[in-house]
Symmetry: C2
Subunit: 170 residues, 2 copies
Amino acid sequence: MEIKITEAIKSRRSVREFTADLIAEADLLKIIEAGRWAPSGLNNQPWKVVVVKNREIIAGLAGCTKYWRVISGCRVCLAVYYDESKGYNETKDILAVGAFIQNMLLTVQELGLGACWLGEILNQENAVNNLLSVPDAYRLMAVIALGNPTAKQRSSTRRPINEIIYKTID
Amino acid sequence: MEIKITEAIKSRRSVREFTADLIAEADLLKIIEAGRWAPSGLNNQPWKVVVVKNREIIAGLAGCTKYWRVISGCRVCLAVYYDESKGYNETKDILAVGAFIQNMLLTVQELGLGACWLGEILNQENAVNNLLSVPDAYRLMAVIALGNPTAKQRSSTRRPINEIIYKTID
């Protein structure tokens, strides 16, 4: 499927309910490959991912958030980390990880798959890190729940553009 | 022009040299509109933009970074801010601003325009903020230089995907 960028950007919604269908390995690699090409300051690429397919570990992740249903129902979790050992400036590095995540989410959309970007789970960062056994330098940024979306209307809203543009200096 | 997402993601490069051609107002709005649809925690949309077209102010911004040539040569600068008054969690808010920026950069690519994400200018945040007269709660995240790209081959590299995936838990 090919959809143009602006269309994907505007039509993308968080998907919280998934079918039982699996995600093809090739699609999973396309998603991470898209993240790979995100920009970063000094091109330092401070991102790392743990791919979780194991149902027991997924259940363990579900136990770390009040949004456990989203994780329990998904097929694959991507735990996204900021690798501080590759970092040079915290703010810029975290912005880059945000771009990394967004590239992946847009590719999920292009592939006709669904994803939910989970942030509340960061409250249980230590538990997640213990479960996934990651290096000490890894800081959890998000868990992305992936799967095939159920048929459901999903809507969202944003503030109008004149509230985003603080001002224009002509 | 319509290009598919993964293609745009992989072919996007920083553009540091621009032609004298102006940017159409409609294109500028499309770029910011794409940012508008970025995801954010609790949908708090903690981003703000100052659009700078005035040549004197652009020259002033150029004076705030060692990459002054990029700014001097561009047509429009977007100063991207994190509005802390709309924030709820610093890390998640900054990740969201990263997604906001990436949406805009991908749309720049789709429109056949060029952009450079400047981070070094954050070293002169106070000078930039004074120049643009923004509220105290605004934290400078990036300046994006926009214009029409000169004809030039631009290449970049990324670490291989097996260095991004720390591990897969099957």
